[in-house]
């Protein structure tokens, strides 16, 4: 099916562990984004990518790393998870007309 998928949907990890959230899109959109959603803050941009091998920081990049070796994949890695990174993470891709389409989200809990 065409669209944008995220895995895992739910993840519990311990403080200090590395965890990678996966994002895959089938549209071949150039731009992809990672947001986190927290109560009281809405959605905030973590990182974005304009194309394969081109990434840049968003509003809240600290503690996160991204890569994009292929157009369709945009994984987000928490190098050493902290409790403050407990959140719901959304991946999105953008059409040429600036519409963004979101994945179903990953609910991450750091204990």
């Amino acid at each position: 099916d065409a669209g944008i998928t995220q895995s895992p949907r739910y993840k519990i990890t311990e403080t200090g562990r590395q965890v990678t959230l996966m994002c895959h899109q089938t549209w071949s959109h150039s731009y992809m984004f990672w947001y986190r959603q927290d109560l009281g803050h809405g959605l905030r941009l973590i990182y974005y990518s304009a194309a394969a091998d081109i990434t840049d920081k968003g509003e809240v990049p600290d503690g996160y790393v991204v890569s994009r070796s292929k157009t369709e994949n945009f994984p987000l890695t928490l190098e050493s998870a902290t409790r403050s990174q407990t959140s719901v993470y959304f991946c999105a891709s953008r059409t040429p007309s600036y519409e963004q389409y979101f994945g179903p989200g990953t609910r991450l809990t750091v204990t």
């Binding site: 809405g42 941009l45 953008r94 600036y98 519409e99 989200g105």
Partner: protein
């Protein structure tokens, strides 16, 4: 920096009543405006968008929004709501400062609660 303000965090309304969810943005340059809906435990779904042209835009599920450049507003309306419209609604802006890469600046959301 660009910002989006959703003036109401919660809006309770009875079924079949009209509703307006308010959104104001700050930008001195041209922007693209969007409304998204989020149902519980789901991702965000695009309701409608304004890129240019007619200031009244129609979206899915009977929603519409009006772009007002002078008031920098983009309020969302529906003439008659249903129980199934209960969800959280996000206004977002793209373009201008802080959004030049097409990323979205979101408001903090409005929870619409439709009561029978």
């Amino acid at each position: 920096a660009q910002s989006v303000t959703q003036l109401d965090s919660q809006v309770p309304v009875f079924e079949e009543a009209p509703v307006e969810l308010r959104c104001n943005y700050s930008s001195s340059v041209s922007v693209y405006l969007f409304w998204y809906v989020q149902y519980p435990n789901q991702g965000l779904q695009l309701l409608l968008k304004y890129l240019s042209g007619s200031t009244l835009v129609k979206g899915i599920n009977g929603f519409e929004a009006e772009f007002n450049k002078s008031q920098t507003s983009f309020h969302l309306r529906k003439p008659s709501v249903h129980i199934s419209d209960t969800a959280e609604y996000f206004c977002a802006v793209s373009g201008g400062y802080g959004g030049s890469q097409g990323n979205l600046i979101f408001g903090k959301g409005t929870k619409l609660s439709v009561k029978p």
